[in-house]
Symmetry: C2
Subunit: 203 residues, 2 copies
């Protein structure tokens, strides 16, 4: 006889939970058992929320951020945003980080990732052609590339700058430098180098 | 205007995920967005597995471990297990840890927790009366208390030893191979094996 194991439905849930980002086998098992022990009052609403996700939420055709189906995109609303600016980000979550910073009131464009040949992410996998069309047809005067400053982010920024060259819009990149509250102690040398080169006059 | 936020269905999912053990707000948000970006091929099966949990899985009336509904409990199967031994554990997950250690082939009894006055867990909240009846009516000769070696585990073991005194069965405790303050959760299989083999009588 094989050793005893959890019933099939629990094993299946553990397997699915292990597929989630940031969950290892032990966490997935603990989570599944916790859900089982809590009973339907916990697993039921979670099941419903997950099931509703695909039906009730969609990506805005224009900016790529999430919207509730059949509702207008708040971020693309022409009366409230500065339509002369388009900020390009990798992921939908980046949109909210920028919104919460309060530093930006223009339009957004979610790429859906960054160029990464090692992971087989090519320009066709990202919303780059949609960006080109949007810039060609829209009222944008500046495109701000708010992609990450890692190797793939830099490559993506370079590629986008090429794609947008000749479109007549200014293309800019987020400043790189010291993080807020960061002591020089905790900053790597490349960041320090960039902070030094990007220094700006105080008065 | 308030800052933009995720659509309601995503916010609801994030809230529910934050209630899971081991998930903080950032992890819950990352997980919800990942599920959204992956589309229904990920969230659908997870929703189904969660929904199925309460319908398809139940606790065995006898040992308290999980069984698929309308199926016999493999661990209580009289032909395969040593019915003279009952091993008392706090949680269903502990059963599988002992099974995987290979040190034990008797019956199990899942308490459903441990005595903890601070958390309002009293004897009535645990399957203690069921254990008493089971010992009184069954063929057990020894009850092994495989609860944790933390304060509440020791208190639970002491209480159970009192309840079972006079029932004519030997009561033993896992050897103190368990690290002090350790729950069965965090113990490797070899340590569990040694603890099982070194179990000692309580009285």
């Amino acid at each position: 006889m094989a050793n005893a194991d959890y019933p099939g439905p629990i094993l299946k849930l553990i397997t699915l939970l292990r597929g989630l980002p940031g969950l290892g086998p032990r966490s997935a098992e603990r989570m599944a058992l916790w859900l089982m022990e809590q009973g339907p009052s916990r697993s039921g609403p979670l099941a419903q929320a997950l099931g509703a996700l695909a039906h009730e939420v969609a990506a805005c055709d224009e900016c790529g951020f999430f919207i509730e189906r059949a509702q207008a995109c708040e971020l693309c609303d022409g009366t409230r945003r500065d339509r002369s600016l388009i900020c390009v980000v990798e992921r939908a979550a980046d949109v909210l980080r920028l919104e919460r910073s309060g530093a930006y009131k223009g339009l957004y464009h979610v790429l859906g990732g960054k160029l990464s040949p090692l992971d087989n992410v090519t320009p066709e996998d990202l919303r780059i052609e949609a960006l080109r069309v949007r810039v060609a047809q829209g009222a944008a005067r500046e495109v701000i590339l708010a992609v990450g400053s890692d190797v793939e982010g830099e490559a993506t920024a370079g590629y986008l700058a090429d794609v947008l060259s000749g479109s007549g819009v200014a293309v800019s990149r987020l400043a790189q430098g010291l993080p807020a509250g960061g002591a020089l102690d905790h900053v790597d040398e490349l960041t320090l180098y960039q902070a030094m080169n990007g220094r700006r006059p105080l008065r």
